[in-house]
């Protein structure tokens, strides 16, 4: 039956060849890992000699050699340290040549003084946040930023409240070990990383005040949306006064009976931004169930083209979907926003840690422990590389005052790209409210009134009416073909329009 179907496809005139698939462009290699343990990768960084350093959920730190080789059997592992309390942040410091691990209650500097390949000095760099004993109080740490600081995002107690100091905060640890409270409003972080300019972002997860997972820009002094940890403003004089709380659930009626609130729903991020000046909306909503369910690592393509055409873009790992998504960001009216596209699925377990090397190889791994993952394996350590073939994809999607400009990785077919019927758009948002998660609400089906293909045939300018501030603009390009008549590898993008450009 399946074969018969393929035959049909083969003789169908519009689909002369079998449509390209993700694996044609990005190859995943799964590494064997040491048998004596479960390498549940929680964090990855690069050493200057090309080796990797990996922290795991079991509290081990492994130095990995040969993972960059084209022969996966060349990989080898050296146990650098063990017995740490869950390593969800790892950072090699080029200045002192030591490894820094973010663990449950401490940033630890590990030194190998006798040079035997195993750490023998474990220094507490900073442990000034609280830990109540709750399993959910994860501490997710960064690499060193351009100022030489480490960042830590601290999950709320049970992912709901804040039973100990700075639960629900992002902290910076200065090179001298002092701690600077930096952002409030964190809920349940999954990963932290930098863009090509060194700006810091983290991923939060669907739950109260989060209709979906999000990519959020950690601008010092901002409130990131979940008020659960805001009691700790009293320990953070540098952050000023505590922001006013968002309205927990403004709607008091019975939604089940389709009751409407006179005057509309005020429980929207865009409305609360007017009231709460410190509130910074998520840069990108990683649309629940479509892009992912559990966002983790943030990986920036700094390889200068060795990972394909997406230089300087961000790749977001997902634990539940065991995939990578792709994010293009821009700054509009002073804040970050952008678009997320599906990119590559099919990793073997739930991704948690990830890092790209200078050769454009993405190393990623994770586990499905406690939160199921599509991959199907209990844990994994893998590599994702560009095959050298360029997929036909949207490259960037930029907001314009009256629509969007979409660029492509390959020249487009002017006939289909200029045809309004090739496109559809849907706008929606999530309620910004205390309940867990939430539906896509306030749907708007705007009109696409123009699709103008650029003279160089590499971009299209869409005019949309209306654009809705605060809404996610879901664009489908099902009819658009490349100059070679190929469909897009991924024909959907979700743009979070925090601001409409002036």
């Amino acid at each position: 039956m399946k074969r018969f179907f393929s035959l049909l496809l083969a003789f169908s005139p519009s689909l002369w060849a079998v449509d390209p698939v993700e694996a044609d462009f990005y190859k995943i290699t799964t590494f064997e890992t040491p048998k004596e343990t479960a390498i549940e990768v929680g964090s990855i960084d690069l050493m200057p000699d090309g080796r990797l350093v990996m922290g795991t959920r079991r509290g081990e730190i492994w130095i990995v050699s040969g993972a960059g080789s084209s022969d996966a059997s060349q990989v080898s592992y050296q146990l650098f340290a063990s017995g740490l309390h869950e390593v969800l942040g790892i950072a090699y410091n080029p200045k002192d040549k030591n490894i820094y691990a973010t663990t449950r209650y401490e940033i630890t500097r590990l030194k190998d003084v006798d040079g035997d390949g195993r750490a023998d000095v474990f220094d507490n760099v900073n442990d000034s946040w609280g830990v109540s004993g709750d399993y959910h109080e994860y501490a997710i740490g960064s690499r060193f930023d351009k100022a030489g600081d480490l960042w830590v995002t601290l999950c709320l107690t049970g992912s709901f409240s804040s039973a100990a100091p700075f639960r629900g905060w992002a902290l910076r640890i200065k090179p001298d070990g002092t701690m600077v409270p930096t952002c409030s409003g964190i809920r349940s972080p999954g990963g932290i990383g930098f863009d090509a300019d060194g700006e810091v972002y983290y991923c939060d997860n669907q739950g109260p005040w989060h209709g979906a997972c999000t990519l959020q820009h950690l601008v010092p002094g901002t409130f990131q949306g979940h008020p659960g940890g805001n009691a700790w403003y009293n320990l953070a004089p540098n952050m000023g006064t505590r922001p006013i709380d968002p309205i927990p659930e403004a709607f008091q009626g019975d939604r089940g009976r389709k009751e409407a609130r006179p005057g509309g729903d005020p429980d929207r991020m865009v409305a609360e931004r007017e009231r709460i000046k410190e509130l910074l909306p998520p840069a990108v909503y990683l649309v629940h169930g479509k892009i992912g369910n559990s966002a983790t690592a943030i990986i920036c393509d700094t390889s200068g083209g060795k990972f394909g055409p997406f230089s300087k873009q961000l790749f977001i790992a997902d634990q539940s979907h065991s995939n990578l998504s792709r994010v293009f960001l821009e700054t509009v009216n002073g804040i970050k926003q952008g678009v997320v596209f599906p990119f590559r699925s099919g990793f073997k377990s739930g991704l948690i840690g990830g890092r790209m090397d200078e050769e454009g190889r993405v190393f990623a791994g994770g586990s499905d422990r406690g939160w199921g993952a599509r991959g199907g394996k209990p844990f994994c350590f893998e590599k994702c590389e560009w095959t050298g073939k360029t997929p036909f994809e949207m490259h960037e999607m930029r907001a314009k005052p009256d629509g969007f400009e979409v660029t492509f990785t390959q020249p487009i077919d002017p006939a289909t790209a200029g045809d309004l019927k090739s496109y559809s758009m849907r706008e929606f948002t999530y309620a910004y409210r205390e309940q867990y998660g939430g539906d896509e609400v306030s749907e708007i089906l705007p009109k696409i009134t123009a699709a103008k293909v650029a003279a160089d045939g590499k971009s299209v300018r869409l005019t949309i009416s209306p654009l809705t501030k605060g809404h996610i603009h879901e664009l489908h390009l099902d009819g658009v073909r490349s100059a070679e008549k190929l469909p897009l590898l991924h024909s959907v993008g979700y743009y979070t329009l925090n601001e409409i450009p002036k």
């Binding site: 479960a38 959920r57 079991r58 509290g59 063990s82 017995g83 740490l84 309390h85 869950e86 663990t103 449950r104 209650y105 401490e106 630890t108 500097r109 006798d114 195993r118 750490a119 023998d120 000095v121 474990f122 220094d123 507490n124 442990d127 609280g130 830990v131 109540s132 004993g133 709750d134 399993y135 959910h136 049970g158 992912s159 709901f160 100990a164 629940h288 169930g289 479509k290 369910n293 559990s294 539940s320 979907h321 599906p342 739930g350 499905d368 422990r369 406690g370 939160w371 199921g372 993952a373 599509r374 199907g376 309940q435 867990y436 998660g437 539906d439 896509e440 959907v492």
Partner: protein, 522 residues
């Protein structure tokens, strides 16, 4: 624990219908599992399930037809963006005709009561959570099985006597005999409370030739015989907490049933049941064993992952019961283990034997504090209590741990592993720097191994005035130059300049080297 068996009711239509089967099914916090892996009901039985989501994620409870690949069904919702969009609108309830009952998607800490009638057709009906990614582990089975037949013509014979095990009742004269009207094995408590025995005899009909399993639990002894042959023996003086069971092949038709029981003193309990290939565990006694109550099976615990200490010390930083939230476990070669607190900068626990089981933390989401795996666990100074203290009353009670506060005068600095990879803990207290290390002698894995833990503190810099170091809380008995803790854990502690101050064993703190030994007292 004595519970009445579900009564059989007669409905208005004249058909027998079982009483409602009531279950409480909870989601296990941080484990992506339901707490019940199996629920057993009768065909057509009314079922009421109180479904409680104590977890931090949304979960539902979806019942499917026998043979449904529930993981595939749940996964299908996410096979492409279009499917996911539809699934999202349905709140992740698959649009699948094999689903015949379900809860709504419960938010964290919500609950819902589900009432339905069990399917008329016997079989194994899987249940699952269909929220994305949960179906692989969050699943169980609703078993729909009819009850088997009960006993017929049940008679009892009561004997008086004091026994430690079952007597040969055939040589004794019954005190009283009679018929059991409801044909259920029972002990009437209005006759005698101690020192009696009962022999039950009756007929049991096997619906077909095949294997059957008999279950017996009693306080005190009992045995069960079919056609004069012993099938299950639960003789002797004991509680009824453990169910004994045995399989036997029976021909189709009636069989002679005999159950002998005796009561010495104390608690009176007697439970019997049988099970066939086509029917569920069917009680033959009026009382229902707590393990049969509700016909549900609890989810299994994790397989242990003991951390084995071989040639070098093993360090385990995680939540250790009795060591607060910043505990550092160290298992030393030689069978002595400690947990040291990076919060109180003090030795929190000492124990002998095996180090620790990591399975709690290395399975699922890893919640909770794990207790030491070995034995003779000593907590010298109470949970998360510093040893250094400024006081003019060293006999006073030391402060209790306040989880919301840190000990500001202490600064945790870390640890250094020596050539044998044994840690030296480093911290400061006021202006003094302290280095603390441990060595082992003897063999802690043997009761008579004379295992000794030697703790060495190197204190440099200035200590505050009136600084004391508390080694342990008593009571103590001073003996042979040492101090024997006479509490639940008997340890012998020695240290130069150690003195008793009320219930405290203390040392006036001063810079230099301080050595303390701990040894299990015989």
């Amino acid at each position: 624990m004595i519970r009445p068996l579900f009564a059989l009711l007669i409905t208005s239509a004249g058909l027998p219908a079982a009483e409602t089967a009531v279950f409480t099914l909870k989601t296990m916090t941080a484990q992506m599992k339901y707490d019940l892996s199996e629920m057993i009901v009768q065909p057509g039985q009314p079922v009421k399930i109180s479904f409680e989501n104590g977890d931090d994620l949304p979960h539902n409870l979806v019942f499917c037809q026998p043979g449904t690949d529930t993981a595939a069904m749940a996964l299908k919702q996410m096979e492409n963006p279009a499917a996911a969009e539809i699934a999202l609108k349905r709140n992740w309830l698959p649009d699948d005709p094999r689903i015949w009952a379900h809860s709504k998607m419960l938010n964290p800490h919500e609950k819902e009561v589900l009432s339905f009638t069990a399917p008329a057709k016997p079989g194994t009906y899987p249940y699952v959570c269909t929220f994305p990614g949960h179906a692989m582990t969050m699943r169980g089975e609703l078993k729909v099985e009819p009850l088997g037949e009960g006993l017929q013509d049940l008679q009892f014979a009561l004997y008086l006597g004091s026994w430690k095990q079952l007597p040969d009742f055939s040589k004794l004269k019954p005190h009283r005999e009679g018929k059991v009207d409801d044909n259920l094995i029972q002990v009437k408590l209005d006759d005698y409370k101690n020192e009696f025995g009962v022999v039950f005899t009756g007929k049991l009909n096997a619906p077909k030739k095949g294997s059957y399993r008999f279950f017996l639990a009693s306080d005190d002894g009992a045995r069960l015989l079919i056609d004069g042959k012993e099938v299950v023996n639960d003789d002797g003086i004991h509680p009824a907490s453990k169910i004994k069971e045995q399989g036997v092949t029976l021909d189709k038709g009636p069989h002679e049933f005999r159950l002998e029981y005796f009561q010495g003193g104390g608690q009176i309990e007697l439970y019997a049941a049988w099970k066939g290939a086509d029917f569920q565990i069917t009680p033959l006694s009026k009382w229902l064993h707590p393990q049969w109550q509700g016909g549900a099976k609890k989810q299994k615990e994790f397989d242990p992952i003991p951390l084995v200490v071989a040639q070098e010390p093993v360090i385990y930083r995680n939540f250790i019961q009795g060591a607060g939230n910043r505990g550092i476990g160290v298992g030393y070669p030689g069978g002595i283990n400690i947990a040291w607190s990076a919060e109180s900068m003090n030795l929190a626990l000492i124990w002998r034997g095996a180090f620790i089981d990591a399975s709690r933390h290395w399975n699922s989401r890893g919640g909770g504090h794990e207790k030491p795996l070995g034995y003779d666990v000593l907590q010298p100074t109470g949970e998360v209590t510093p040893a250094f203290f400024i006081t003019d009353k060293p006999d006073a009670a030391w402060p209790q741990w306040d989880k919301t506060k840190r000990y500001d005068d202490f600064k945790w600095q870390g640890y250094t592993l020596d050539a044998k990879r044994s840690p030296t803990f480093r911290y400061t207290w006021h202006d003094a720097a302290v280095e603390e290390s441990f060595t082992i002698s003897g063999d802690g894995n043997k009761p008579d191994g004379n295992a000794k833990l030697t703790r060495t503190l190197k204190i440099s810099g200035a200590l505050p005035a009136n600084a004391w170091y508390r080694i342990a809380s008593g009571p103590f008995e001073s003996k042979d130059g040492g101090f024997i803790a006479t509490g639940p854990q008997k340890y012998r502690i020695t240290a130069a300049d150690a003195q008793l101050a009320g219930a405290n064993l203390v040392i006036p703190a001063k810079p230099g080297v301080m050595t303390i030994t701990y040894q299990r007292a015989q």
